[in-house]
Symmetry: C2
Subunit: 414 residues, 2 copies
């Protein structure tokens, strides 16, 4: 038997307790031993629930109990998660976490402590909810040179964009609906501004490259400027718009960004709708693979925590190498990355197209009835070149006292 | 350093040698030691190639060389693969194979020998080419009760069906094209009759249930009866037709089949086109996940072999439990499984619908211009009930000297 403690009895923590109970036979068989829940750390009591007698209010109880070999951190945030997790590892306990903020901010240090102590620090649930993605990266794809990881990593924004796409809703309306359904927080900034996705792609990039990633180095743009009008053009183009977290790795040159991207129907992530997540991994030998599932939710996320608990129990006496070192990854400046661009421009194509093609080169033009604007899809340009051309185009408009570019969305369309 | 031998220098075997060379740094880092190729067993010589000096023609050389710790079997078929693999395991060597026929026919025995000898028998490449699916089942999803595994597991048939769907081709024409491109064999029976898919779903079912599966117990129907007319209806219905290998597990009741299935656009496997494979896994806590990638091809498949080689090297001295026991899984009779059915019926809906609804209950009707038939989509019925109703309907036609049911395709449409 191996004993575990859960820190934080919220949605995910209670899901973990529930699965430990309900799938006990499967977990025992897989772990090679019974996994027993000894403590649940929470500020609250939960009288009348199955874990009522396991509640403790002091971390010290867990830290100082040598019988607790696995600590499950499902509190979220950095404080007190970070000191508690660090102390648990220092005390020679395995730690399993669902906390992307913790892993993105302190992963390198916590992995190093785990290694030193001969225990494990696992975080499958920190990215992609229930989708196995961290473990495939260190268990299945370690013989590959990873060339790209691109994911739809945030269920809230994907739900909002899906509503805008399929039902023509405005951003504001779709956000409100997501809030009413409990998919979005009252303060949705971390989701809609891309910060959540940023931490997740930082973790995936560290796993793919074996290097430490400072998530603040990753260019991050949210979805708050995407409008229902953009989706009208998208429909005409047979495309959709998704919030991507993406890293492209070519030797020592790594580009990473979080931004809305316009994609076509043949993109493997096109079908990832609603609150689902999908992650595309491209290896130099393997080609493209894709992993799809529930990116959030109590039981799917708790299921990923359970997979980590099982691996910790299987490796009770040894550290499993994750390949994430303390060498810092250098991420190229966003302005050196190249994309196609979907651009909405005031005026009519008839008047403006000559100027537009002079600046951007050959473009695909899209026009919608009843709008005093048109849109183009450019060829591949670096960000720097695009910004420069866009500024020149805007100048022309401003001189004439008009609006210029109304929207720019990066595009990956064949 | 750990030394390996490859048996069979065909497409996959040569791919393995190529990746061992090209991704040497990644493989060494992941395996924790250098993986050196000592021998390549083949009847042919390969003068002037990098492996020319490694060629041996006698299995005995590999079997009797204690330096060879990993044997890679990429010959295919059962003879001499089976005796060679068995002897390698008996000699205390790890075996990695891409051979679905071998795993489906002898997996239980070979896994038992590996366990007894404290070595490993790995077969990631036997299903889904480069897609990590076997390893996720024993590494990531072991705490789940698996409720369903459904896959598009054969690239050849998926290519043919995609051509029929997107370009309106007949089966015969699409098959010919697949043969010209080298996607289909001159004798395509194992693919188009579903036998390849059958072996793969048998392996996945054994991994999901932990029990031995006799692939001959799995109802298997290929795609040779699917026509371009079916796809005309599918287009009107917003559906497609894919060859599924599928197991549905509810407690002790397991249904498994290989058959073409009509699915809607919201099915996670709808987007799996051309030679790609996709595998959906549903867990009781996790919900639905999906794994997508190249189901065949030299380097993707070899990449899966490499992942197994790495895991064998990491576990040089121990057997990794795969959870596949020798307890035989009982698979329910096909006639007790329930589906919706797409049915094409001679005559017009106006004449025949009353009779059809009397038999099948409420149906969705589809009519195409210029055909002397119509189609319906039934509600969920057991196979036994459907066959009975279909026979009754046919009788009515035969009595009137007419054609009856022209086509039946199982359907999973919302």
């Amino acid at each position: 038997m191996i004993q575990a403690a859960i820190m934080g009895y919220g949605t995910i923590g209670s899901g973990v307790a529930e699965i430990l109970e309900q799938n006990q036979a499967e977990i025992t068989r897989a772990a090679g031993q019974n996994v027993a829940l000894k403590y649940v750390l929470d500020l609250r009591d939960f009288p009348g629930t199955p874990i009522a007698d396991k509640i403790v209010h002091e971390f010290k109880v867990i830290e100082e109990d040598p019988d607790v070999q696995i600590v499950v951190e499902t509190m979220g945030g950095l404080n007190p998660s970070y000191p508690f997790v660090k102390a648990s590892l220092e005390a020679g306990k395995h730690v399993v976490t669902s906390n992307k903020a913790l892993v993105a901010a302190h992963g390198t240090e916590l992995l190093a402590i785990a290694k030193k102590k001969g225990v494990n620090f696992f975080f499958e649930a920190s990215v992609g909810g229930g989708i196995p993605i961290i473990r495939p990266l260190y268990r299945c794809l370690k013989g590959e040179k990873i060339e790209e990881i691109t994911g739809i990593l945030n269920g809230t924004t994907n739900y909002i964009l899906t509503k805008m796409d399929k039902e023509g809703e405005t951003f504001e309306h779709a956000l409100k609906e997501a809030q009413e359904l409990g998919y979005a927080e009252r303060n949705p900034e971390a989701d809609v501004e891309g910060q959540d996705t940023c931490r997740k792609i930082a973790i995936l990039t560290a796993m793919a490259t074996g290097k430490e990633v400072n998530y603040e180095d990753i260019y991050t743009e949210g979805i708050t400027k995407i409008t229902d009008v953009d989706f009208k053009y998208a429909e005409k183009l047979g495309t959709s718009v998704k919030l991507f977290g993406s890293s492209r790795i070519q030797g020592d040159e790594v580009h990473a960004f979080v931004a809305p991207v316009m994609i076509g129907r043949d993109h493997p992530l096109y079908m990832v709708s609603d609150v689902f997540n999908g992650i595309l991994v491209k290896g130099n030998m393997l080609g493209t693979t894709m992993y799809y599932g529930s990116g959030a939710g109590k039981l799917p996320t708790a299921s990923a925590v359970i997979a980590d608990i099982i691996e910790a129990a299987q490796n009770e006496k040894q550290n499993v190498p994750m390949g994430w070192t303390d060498e810092r990854l250098e991420i190229a400046e966003m302005e050196t990355s190249a994309h196609r661009y979907f651009v909405r421009i005031a005026g009519t194509a008839a008047e403006k197209l000559a100027e537009v093609t002079t600046l951007f080169g050959e473009v695909t033009v899209v026009e919608l009835d009843g709008l005093d604007e048109f849109a183009v899809l450019t060829g591949k340009l670096t960000e720097a070149a695009f910004q420069d051309m866009a500024a020149k185009l805007d100048q022309g408009y401003q001189a004439a006292g008009e609006d210029g570019i109304r929207q720019m969305i990066r595009a990956e369309v064949e």
